[in-house]
């Protein structure tokens, strides 16, 4: 493995009711988060290719963990997102190197498909920093019912020389969507947008 992993944390949320209304089937979201060593902590590094490769490796590993936590087949996943938090001795570009160049391909492979852009967020922070992972439909970014987010937090990460990398997947959109827009049964699935 290229990544030196200190820990992996998975989260599964299952919402059964909202404002007293039943959510049936329950809305389920899962995230898998890895805490890894930042090989470039404290130094300026022009070539970030090691982090790009780490992104590829984690794209598969974390996607498999998150889908397993959700307990459904990868193909049944409806929305996805990714995020990273860089410890204080790193820079935001380190998160970008992990998230953007190569992470998406293995992530999509685990899901079978994924025409839409994977929504993402990144930040720098200390121990216990909160990451809000944006979520969007995996085949059509404009599906309004699936615009969502999932908060993850690990109390003892990231240390100064670490990076937290998070992927999230869901079995559905928001619990009781009712603000219109494109619905999932209207997806054409050609351009990743509609």
């Amino acid at each position: 493995m290229k990544s030196r992993i200190r820990k992996i944390v998975t989260f599964l949320e299952e919402t059964l009711s909202e404002q007293g209304q039943p959510v049936d089937p329950p809305a389920r979201r899962a995230a898998a988060v890895a805490v890894i060593e930042n090989p470039y902590a404290g130094v300026y590094q022009q070539d970030l290719s090691i982090l790009v490769d780490i992104g590829e490796e984690l794209g598969q590993l974390l996607a498999e963990r998150a889908v397993a936590a959700l307990g459904i087949a990868g193909q049944q996943v409806e929305s996805y997102g990714k995020a990273a938090a860089v410890g204080e001795a790193g820079e935001l570009e380190h998160a970008a190197a992990i998230l953007h160049p190569k992470l998406g391909t293995p992530f999509r492979k685990v899901l079978g498909k994924g025409a839409a852009l994977i929504p993402s967020s990144k930040k720098r922070g200390g121990l216990g920093v909160v990451l809000d992972i944006p979520l969007g439909h995996k085949d059509a970014a404009y599906v309004r019912s699936h615009f969502d987010g999932m908060e993850v937090r690990i109390n003892d990460a990231p240390r100064a020389k670490e990076i937290m990398v998070a992927l999230a997947v869901t079995s559905c959109g928001r619990p009781l969507p009712r603000v219109g827009g494109l619905t999932k049964d209207q997806i054409q699935g050609l351009d990743g947008l509609r």
Binding site: R6, K7, I8, T10, F11, E14, T15, S17, A69
Partner: protein, 194 residues
């Protein structure tokens, strides 16, 4: 009889490979299962709380089952446990105390003969409140390598009239345990302490 109303569940698993020392062959895993339920006593003083303890018993079993499933399905891997509660602001700490018996019962049922007292903690708090749930060895409270804790919490819970109930399990000692004291292989297993 007041009914049990679950708004949401959250399960999370931490898999810890190292803490700055050597990476072991097997990680330590800590898992929590959380349920957010309606607090039937929120907003007013009720002298008799005991009937609700019976109502909570199936939830104790439910969360213990979720925990063991999250740890791979075999109860034999569980070496440490703990429990906790966060009471929303319209409740009182005594409502959280209702979790003591059903939470412990649920875990003991599935672990088969765990002898040690289940360590616990509770507090009043708003959405996103974090709780450090203590963990100790399931058969002997004094096993020093297994004194641990897991931070739990949910971004949108507990609301004012809710209770957040937590069960926690671990699969072994702290990852680099080395401060002496009673070891797991020295347990006599008679009194739940040593």
């Amino acid at each position: 009889m007041v009914e049990l109303r679950v708004r949401k569940y959250q399960t999370s698993v931490e898999e810890i490979w190292h803490e700055g020392g050597p990476t072991g062959e097997r990680p330590l895993r800590r898992a929590c299962a959380l349920a957010v339920i309606t607090n039937p006593f929120a907003g007013s003083y009720h002298a008799d709380l005991l009937p609700f303890m019976e109502v909570l018993k199936p939830l104790g079993l439910d969360l213990a089952r979720r925990l063991i499933a999250a740890l791979g399905g075999d109860a034999k891997v569980v070496e440490g446990y703990g429990k906790g509660a966060i009471v929303g602001e319209a409740g009182e700490i005594e409502h959280g105390a209702l979790w003591h018996a059903p939470g412990g019962y649920g875990m003991r049922e599935l672990l088969g003969g765990a002898k040690a007292i289940v360590p616990s903690t509770k507090k009043l708090g708003g959405p996103g409140t974090r709780l450090d749930v203590p963990l100790t060895h399931i058969n002997a409270s004094y096993v020093r390598s297994h004194f641990d804790s897991m931070e739990v919490g949910i971004a949108d819970a507990p609301r004012s009239s809710e209770l957040l109930l937590a069960l926690v399990m671990s699969t072994g000692p702290r990852i680099h345990a080395r401060v002496g004291g009673l070891r797991a292989d020295e347990i006599k297993g008679e009194d739940g302490l040593r």
